[in-house]
Every structure is written in C-alpha cells, then in structure tokens.
Symmetry: C2
Subunit: 289 residues, 2 copies
C-alpha cells in the first residue's frame, strides 16, 4: 500500500475512498501454489481490462505489477497463497461527488490460499442450493469487470446456510443458472461439458477448464443452462481460483448422480493440478522479485 | 470509529473488511441544517431495517446512535452537514469466507453538506441524460437496503459527462425510469406528481415530497414512469438528502418545459426548506449530545 510492504493487519483504506463508499473498484485474484504463480498474465490482462472499462486505467506497468505481487508473497512467507490486486477510484478532494476528481488507489495483498471446498472434503463434494436470487445482470454491470458487488451472492449464502448447505448458485434474468460466490459452474451430460455463456465472470479457472477440455477433445457448450438441465446432469462442478475444480454432489438436497465426484470431474481436477508444475502455465515468485 | 471521535483524515477501515471486499455493508445519510437534524428518526428506522435485512442487526440503541451522530457533527464544527452511519460485515478471523464468522463494524462521520445541484444554480437546474444502463434490479438486491453497489450509477455518470451533462437517470428492467446517483425522480403532468414505485431507494426526501403533496392536496401517482412520459412532462425534479429538491431542466439535450424550474417544483422546494425550521421534523444537534 502506498508503495510499501506492510503487515496486513495494518493495511487500511480511508473510509472516504469511493472504493468503499460506492464500491467503485475492481480487483483480481491470482493464486500461488508451491511458490509458483498460476496463469499470472491472464489475471493481469483481466485486471488491466477491468480498470480500463471503469475509466481508470491502471498506471502500473505489467513487470512492475508482477514485482509488487511477488513482493507481497515473499513478505508473507507463504508457499501457497491467494494474491489480490485492487484498484479503487480513490478519494475526491473537498468531498466532491465527481469520480473524475478522485485519484485512483492501487493496493495488493497476499493471504493464505483459501478453499471454497477443503481438499480433504473432495470426495464428499459441495452441497449447494439454487436460489431464486438473480445475479446482478450484465445490463446493470458489465460482468467482465471483476467487482465487489456481492450482496446478491451474500444473501444467497445465508439462504444456503439456512438449508444447511455449503453454498449457493444464483440464477440469471431468465431463471437460468449463473454463478456462485466466487465460482463458475460446469455440468456434464452426454453432449459433454456445459457452462453458462452470459452474465458470468469469465473466470481464469473456467478458461483453464475450457483449455483442458480442448486438449482432451471433450466437447464444451457455452450456452444457457436451465435449472432442469443442471438437475439432470450426471456431474456438476464449480471452478474458482479459490480451490480449483470442486465437485458439486448435492443440489437442493438431491444427489447429483450417485453423490460422488464423477469421472469427468476427477479427470479435469487431476489435469488442473498437473498444470501447476508446467512452466507454460506458471511463473516462479522468486524469479519475479 | 471503534468508539472514538477522530479526524476523518485518519478514519480508515481494514482492507480485509467484507464491507470493502464484498461491499457487504449498508449505510444511511441524514443531513443537518443550521444545527438541526432533519427527519433523523426516519433515517435511523431505515438504517436499522437495512442492517436486519442483511442479517447483521445493528447492536447500537437508537438514543446511543443519535448521540454518536450528534457527536460527529459537534466535533466537525459544522452547522450544515452530511452525516453518514455505516455498518459493514467486518473481518472474518483466519480469512474464512463465511460472513457469519465476521464481527460487524459500525462507524459514522460528518462532512460538509453536499449538493448534487449547487443552490446558486437552482434557476439553471440540472442537465441530465437517460442512460440505457439498468439500475441493479430488486430481484438481485433488495432496493430497500441502502447499499454501496454503485458501479451502474458511476458508469452512467461517465456517460453523462461524455455528453457534457451534469448527471444521469438509469432505467429499470422494463426500460422505465428508475433513479439517478443518489436521487429519486419526480415528474409533473396534468394528473399531478409521478414517481417510480419499484426498484428504487425509498428516499427520505422522496417521502417528504409525498408528505408535502398530501398536505397541499396535490395528487401523487406511484407508478411506472416511461421515458416518453418523462420527456412529455411539464416539470421534472430530483430529490436527495444531498441537496433537497432540485429542478431538472434539460433531459437528453432537450429542455423540460421552457427550461426553467416550474411552479410545482418551486412550491415543493420552498415547502421543503420551510420544514427545516419546524420542530416536528427536526432535532437539535446540541440537545442530543
């Protein structure tokens, strides 16, 4: 923050920052596994793109940004980390309401790698509900901009907890499946993989699954996914930087297939983690400093 | 903050607070005019209601909250102020993603009274555009919860600036008028006042206009307001705690009526400010401390 590495317990932003008072901010999260960033350039691409779409293009060059992120990881001492870069609109002078008068603020931090599904629970999988809450539509906010507008997702999480479930999938304006809190959804049927093509964050882990599917010649349909289609799927899994490939084994209290991770999910999961030791997809933290 | 009055330049929140990283927060803003809070209890009612809907009911009692807000104003030395109370989800221990594990955080601040339309420019009025951006719909986020999900509004502000306009009105899912950045919309035709009834914040200033209209027996229609209806209106005005009653004299580069504030707008504006010296509607800052 402000050009210095500090302990995260001391990292604070002014309450007048529009990034707080209007959630006028964008971010991205890349993970580090065994000292290696995974698909760092794709995360940086998306971050730069998001800042441009918000009319506050990031002024930090790519190589400098990589150094900052690597510095956060180094100072944290973590081998497996969740590394977040953030840009907010900043503070306007004299309490002006005009966002053009504000100075954008950049910050980044590294925290321990977080799992939406703890790997010890891989066989058990995630138990989710489908909520009637509609994910904020792209006609309101461009879903390509990674953003902190999460109240719909948080309300959905409380609904899930009320049903003793782990998490939630929201629907879109047409009542088709959209995404969950921090994850994209894939389902498997005889045609191959299916995943929503609109109104969802274009996740880097989602893209990795698309890339892996192409490699193993598994057909992928980017399409509307109805609730019925989800319910009839043989396998369902979630994808996220926060945990990778995570089987969903129960939806609305009904088992998916036989209630255990299916063969496609297992294969994608295995291939995903194999990419983490492939230098085409990774960059060493130490070498970036 | 944290039970102390501090200078606003020192008021900061931890970057790990979900109020920042998920915009998982609610707030309310009350104004002080010549040392008097205006409709303070209504703002507190809404704030309490918002915190309940977010499943983090405010633990501060009403009288204590009033003391805190009055204390902020007193310490600021301001006679006319914009006083904001905020509750965030807070920070979860050990970086857990579960919002139930977080400790809600309360804070409040007073800054100089802000105007969406400077009163010196009352005769000129606001020049706005109607954007195609859709305000985040109530099916995604309950619009009764005052929230910081403003990226749709901020994008609209940039569109307005691109057209050399002052501000923007967003539409709803059916392409009817919704609201602008921090203000509700009223328009006047032969039937009386019209204002959208769905998917908009139920503003306290909006409610004040409804109350004033009842007093002067001016009919009000809470209804869908189409863009055509807006364009054909004799008068249009915006309502906000940040400025009160503000004439809109130009929409999409076309004059509203003859391009000056109309008689209904003038009357409501006058009555609104007269309420500020009426003890039924106000509470003295000093007496609350």
């Amino acid at each position: 923050m402000n050009g210095e590495f500090i302990d995260i317990s001391e990292a604070r932003i002014p309450i007048l920052d529009w990034g707080f008072l209007r959630s006028d901010a964008t971010y991205d999260v890349v993970h580090v596994w065994k000292g290696q960033f995974f698909r760092l350039d794709e995360h940086i691409d998306r971050f730069f793109e998001s800042t441009k779409r918000l009319r506050m293009p990031c002024s930090i060059e790519r190589d400098e940004l990589k150094k900052i992120l690597a510095g956060c990881v180094k100072h944290s001492g973590l081998k497996d980390a969740y590394v977040e870069m953030i840009q907010t609109r900043g503070v306007s002078k004299n309490f002006q309401r005009d966002p053009r008068k504000a100075n954008p603020r950049f910050m980044a931090f590294a925290v321990p790698f977080g799992w939406i599904l703890n790997p010890n629970n891989f066989e058990k999988g995630l138990d989710v509900i489908v909520s009637r809450i509609r994910r904020i539509p792209p006609g309101s906010i461009d879903s390509r901009i990674k953003n902190y507008h999460w109240l719909d997702l948080v309300s959905g999480m409380y609904e899930a907890y009320d049903s003793n479930s782990d998490s939630v999938i929201l629907v879109d304006e047409k009542n088709n499946i959209s995404e969950g809190p921090g994850f994209n959804i894939f389902c498997v049927d005889e045609s191959g993989l299916n995943t929503p093509n609109k109104g969802v964050l274009e996740g880097v882990t989602r893209q990795t699954v698309l890339d892996l599917a192409e490699e193993i010649k598994l057909p992928v349909n980017l399409r509307s996914v109805s609730i019925n289609m989800l319910n009839d799927s043989k396998e369902v899994f979630a994808t996220s930087t926060a945990g990778g490939i995570m089987p969903i084994t129960k939806i609305n209290n009904k088992l998916v297939g036989d209630g255990t991770p299916g063969p496609v999910t297992r294969q994608i999961h295995k291939s995903y983690w194999e990419l983490h030791i492939n230098s085409k997809w990774t960059q060493s933290v130490i070498e970036l400093i």
